[in-house]
Symmetry: C2
Subunit: 496 residues, 2 copies
C-alpha cells in the first residue's frame, strides 16, 4: 500500500468541469482503440464504506460508451457457485477481449468481508490470496490490463461523510447500519485490508490507493489512471504482438521421462469378446455403485479423455456413460474454439463446463490442447504453452481442493494401428467424416507429437490429478481398463 | 397419441447391422448439411421407465458427430433456476443454429414427475402445458425442427424388461427402486403421460410414439425418424428462405391508438434546477426504500428503457441506479446482436439476463428492437415482427407470473429537440461517439418510426406490463418522472 501514490487535495467544481472534457475524450478514444485489441481491461474498484464505490461506477458509466463495458458485483454466492471452486463465479463473469469489465469489490469483497468477521484463519486467507494472485497473473500473462483501485478514507473522513449524509433528510437513506458497523470496526478492517492489498500488490496487477475524501478529485484520479495505464498498455502490447513464434522442425523435450513412459507402454494385450463382456458388466456395476457413492457424498467428477486420433475416445466414453444416469453427466467435445472462446483465456471455455457437486463432466479432448496442438502448430507462443503446464496444474489443483475427482486418460495406440484404423474409416461411408486431411497431417507429425505428449505426461502428472496411460491397440482391453481405472480412482478419492 | 404411428415388431441382429451403415451415413450427411443451415434440431427423448432413454442417447452419440451435438438433461432445479421463471433453465440450454440439441426428458420430465405424485392441480398442469406449447411454437416459428419421441412399453413389457435385467447378476444394478415404483404406478403415470402428450401434440411439434419393446427396432426407429424429418425440413426451409421481405416506403399502422397516444404526449414541461434537486432526493429516498422492500419480498425488477435516439436514456438510467446498491442491479446495453446471438431466437439474449429473485436488470434498449428497427430495416420478415407482439407479451407475462416487476419506459422527445441534441453532440468532442450516420438515417425515418412505436405502445401495453410514455424534452422533468413512476410501480406491485 505504501508503494502506491495516494491522491490528495480538493478540486473545485470549476476546475473539475474544466478538466472533464479532455478526460472523457481520451477515455472514449481509448475505448474505440480497445475494441479491436487482443486484450481486455479489468478494473477493480474496492475500498472502505462511504468512499463512494457506487459513485465512481456511476461516473464511469457516464464517461464510457456503455456498449463496451460490463459491470459486475458479487453478493452471497448462489448454490451453483458454492458447488464449484471459489474462482468459478469470477471466471464466468470475465469480459471478452476488446471490452472493459468493471468489478465492484470483486474477488476481494468476500475475502475481506469474511475475514472482518473473524471467520477465517490467517492460513486460509493467505491461501485464498495466493489463488487471487495466481488468477490475476493468469489474466495479465494473457494480455489483460488489470487495474485495482482502493478507495481510501481516514476514520475521521469516513465519520464526517456518513454524518453529512445523515444530516440531510433527503440523503439520510444512503447511510445504512452496515456502514456504521464498518465505521466502528474501522481499525480492524483497515488492518485486514492492508494485509490483503500488500499480499496482492504485484507489478503485473498493482493496487492504486486513491484518497476519496474529495469526490471530484477521486473521480478524476480514477479516470486519469485508466487513461494513463491503457495508453502504456497499448504500447507494450504492440511490441509483444510484433514477435511471432517460430516453429522448430522438431520440438525439444522438456522432460524426457514422459516420452520414455509413453514409449515403454506395452500395446500387445489380448482380450476375448466373451471375457470382455463378462468383465465389462461386472465393472460397470461396480462403477455405477462408486458413482452413486460419489453423488451421495456430493463429490463431482471430471474425466479428461486425450489420445491419438482414432485411439477410440468416443467408444470408450460411450461405454463409460452407459453406467451413469443421463441426468448426472455431460459430455463436452472440444473442437476448434469459437470466436467468443478465442476472445477469452484458453481455460475459460473449460471453466464454463465444470460440473456442480454431485455431477460429472466428460471432456472429449480438453485444455491439454494448449500443450499439444497449440504448441506444435504455433497457435500458442513459446511463453504461452510453456506457462500452460503450471496454469493447468493449478487449475486441476483448484478442482481437487474443492472436492472434484479429476481422472485423466491418455489413450495410446501404435502408429501402425492408427494407420489401420484411418484406412478402415476411409473405407466405411458412415465413418468417413471421422477422418480428414488434418488427421493425416497430424499423423505425419507423429514424432513431434510424441515429444509434446511426453512433456505433458511428465509435467502435469500431479499427486492430485495423475495421468493414466491406457494401451488402446486392443479396443476391448482399453475400454475395460478405463472402467477399472475410473472405478478405482473414485473409490480411492472417496476413502480420503 | 393415437394420431402418431406406433412402431412394432422385432428386428434381428443381422437385419439391424445390415441397415445401420445406410442410416449412419444419412445421419452424418444431414449433420454436415445442418451445420450451415439457419435452424437447429431439438430432439426430445422421453418415455416410461425401462424404455431405454439412456440407450437411445448412447446410440445417437455413436452415430452422430459429437462436435455438433449437445445433450441436456434436467434434474432438480438449482436455486438460480428456481429464482426465475420456469422456462429459464430451458432457454439457457438451447443449442445454436446448425446444431443438434438432444434433450433427455426435458421440459416434460419435471411436469410428469410432479403430476405423478399428485402435487399439482390439473389447472396448474394445463397452465404449464400451455407454456410448453408456446415455447415449442416459438422455436418452430423461428425455424427450429422440434422432434419429440415418446418411448413406450406396455406394463407387461416393462415388467419383463426389469425382471430380465435383475436376473442377470451383472446387470441387476441397472434397475433401481425408482424403476419399480414407476412400474407399480404404471397406470396412473400412463394416464398423466397420455394427457401431456395429447395437450402438447401439435402439427409444428408432434409426438412420435415408438414402441421400445425391441431395442434394435427402437433405435432404428429413432434414427430413421431424424433422417426423414430433417430431409423434409430442409426442403421446407429452402422455400421459406427464398422469400425475402419487401419494405414498404411507409409502414401501415396496425393499431392507430398507439400513434395517437404518442402524438398527444405534451412535451413542454418546465422544472427549475432547485426544484428538481430537492424533489430528486426525496424520490430517490423513496425509491431506495421501495427497492429494499422488493428485495425483502424476494421480488425481482426488470426495467426496459426505450426511446428516440438522444432522448436521454443513459442519463436517466444513471439517476435511477444511484438509488440502488451496486451489488443488486445490472445494466445491460443492447446493441447489434453478436454472431452467437444471431444463431438463436431473438428473445434468447434477453432471457440470459433475467435477474434472480431480489435482483434487478435494467435494459438500455431491449427486445422491442424486434418491432422497431428490425421491422423498419427489414431485418425481420413480416411474419416475424408481426408475431413478435404476442411473443413479447407472453415473455413479459411469464416474468410477471413468476413475480418479476416489469417497468417499461418510452422516452419521448420532439423531432426539433432531437435535432438540437444531435448538433450539440457533434459539437462536443467527448460526445461525438454518441452520434453517427445511423442516427441521422433513423432520424430521416421519423415518420416510419412513429408508426412502429405507436403499434408497440398499443399492442404490448398489457395489464401486467404497461408502457409509461415519458415526456423527455426537459431532461430534469423526464428523470424525475422516471423515478416517480418506478417508485409507484414497485409499491403497487408489492401491495398486490
Amino acid at each position: 500500500m505504501a508503494k502506491s501514490a495516494v491522491q490528495r487535495g480538493r478540486i473545485s467544481k470549476k476546475v473539475y468541469e474544466a478538466q472533464l472534457p479532455e478526460l472523457r475524450e481520451q477515455l472514449v478514444q481509448l475505448q474505440v482503440q480497445l475494441k479491436g485489441a487482443p486484450f481486455k481491461l479489468v478494473l477493480i474498484v474496492a475500498g472502505v464504506a462511504g468512499a463512494g464505490r457506487g459513485d465512481v461506477l456511476n461516473a464511469l458509466g457516464e464517461w464510457l460508451d456503455p456498449r463496451g463495458v460490463e459491470t459486475f458485483s458479487f453478493h452471497t454466492p448462489t448454490d451453483e457457485e458454492r458447488d464449484r471452486p471459489l474462482m468459478w463465479r469470477y471466471w464466468r463473469s470475465l469480459p471478452a477481449n476488446g471490452r472493459i469489465g468493471v468489478f465492484a469489490g470483486s474477488w476481494y469483497t468476500e475475502t475481506l468481508r469474511e475475514q472482518a468477521k473473524g471467520k477465517k484463519e490467517l492460513a486460509q486467507l493467505d491461501h485464498e490470496l495466493r489463488r487471487i494472485r495466481h488468477f490475476e497473473k493468469l489474466l495479465t500473462d494473457n494480455g489483460a490490463l488489470v487495474l485495482k483501485v482502493w478507495l481510501h478514507l481516514s476514520k475521521e473522513n469516513q465519520r464526517d461523510r456518513l454524518r453529512a449524509l445523515e444530516s440531510d433528510p433527503d440523503k439520510a437513506w444512503r447511510v445504512t447500519d452496515d456502514d456504521w458497523d464498518a465505521h466502528r470496526q474501522y481499525d480492524e478492517l483497515a488492518e485486514t485490508a492492508r494485509h490483503i492489498v500488500r499480499e496482492t500488490d504485484r507489478p503485473n496487477a498493482a493496487w492504486t490507493v486513491i484518497d476519496a475524501a474529495d469526490e471530484r478529485a477521486r473521480n478524476l484520479a480514477v479516470g486519469q489512471l485508466i487513461v494513463r495505464r491503457l495508453q502504456s498498455h497499448f504500447k507494450r502490447m504492440q511490441r509483444r504482438l510484433a514477435t511471432r513464434p517460430k516453429l522448430p522442425l522438431m520440438p525439444r523435450s522438456l522432460a524426457p521421462s514422459g516420452l520414455r513412459r509413453l514409449r515403454n507402454t506395452p500395446l500387445d494385450q489380448k482380450l476375448s469378446e466373451d471375457d470382455y463382456e463378462r468383465k465389462r458388466e461386472k465393472w460397470l456395476g461396480r462403477l455405477h455403485r462408486s458413482i452413486r457413492s460419489a453423488q451421495a457424498a456430493r463429490r463431482s467428477v471430471v474425466f479428461v479423455f486425450e489420445g491419438w486420433d482414432a485411439a477410440g475416445k468416443g467408444g470408450a466414453i460411450r461405454r463409460l456413460t452407459s453406467a451413469i444416469d443421463v441426468r448426472f453427466y455431460r459430455v463436452v467435445p472440444i473442437a476448434k474454439p469459437t470466436e467468443e472462446e478465442i476472445s477469452h483465456h484458453y481455460l475459460w471455455r473449460f471453466w464454463r463446463h465444470i460440473p456442480r457437486d454431485g455431477y460429472m463432466t466428460i471432456f472429449d479432448r480438453s485444455w491439454y490442447g494448449r500443450v499439444l496442438v497449440e504448441r506444435l502448430e504455433g497457435f500458442a507462443r513459446n511463453d504461452e504453452w510453456r506457462r500452460a503446464y503450471d496454469e493447468i496444474n493449478d487449475f486441476e489443483e483448484q478442482l481437487t481442493e474443492h472436492g472434484t475427482i479429476v481422472i485423466k486418460f491418455w489413450m495410446h495406440v501404435s502408429k501402425e494401428e492408427q494407420l489401420r484404423r484411418f484406412r478402415a474409416r476411409e473405407g466405411t461411408a458412415y465413418k468417413n467424416h471421422k477422418i480428414n486431411a488434418e488427421d493425416w497431417r497430424n499423423r505425419r507429425k507423429w514424432g513431434a507429437y510424441e515429444v509434446a505428449i511426453g512433456d505433458m505426461l511428465a509435467l502435469t502428472n500431479t499427486s492430485f490429478a495423475a495421468w493414466h496411460v491406457i494401451p488402446a491397440n486392443n479396443k476391448r482391453f482399453a475400454r475395460l481398463q478405463i472402467l477399472k481405472t475410473a472405478c478405482n480412482a473414485i473409490e480411492e478419492a472417496l476413502e480420503k
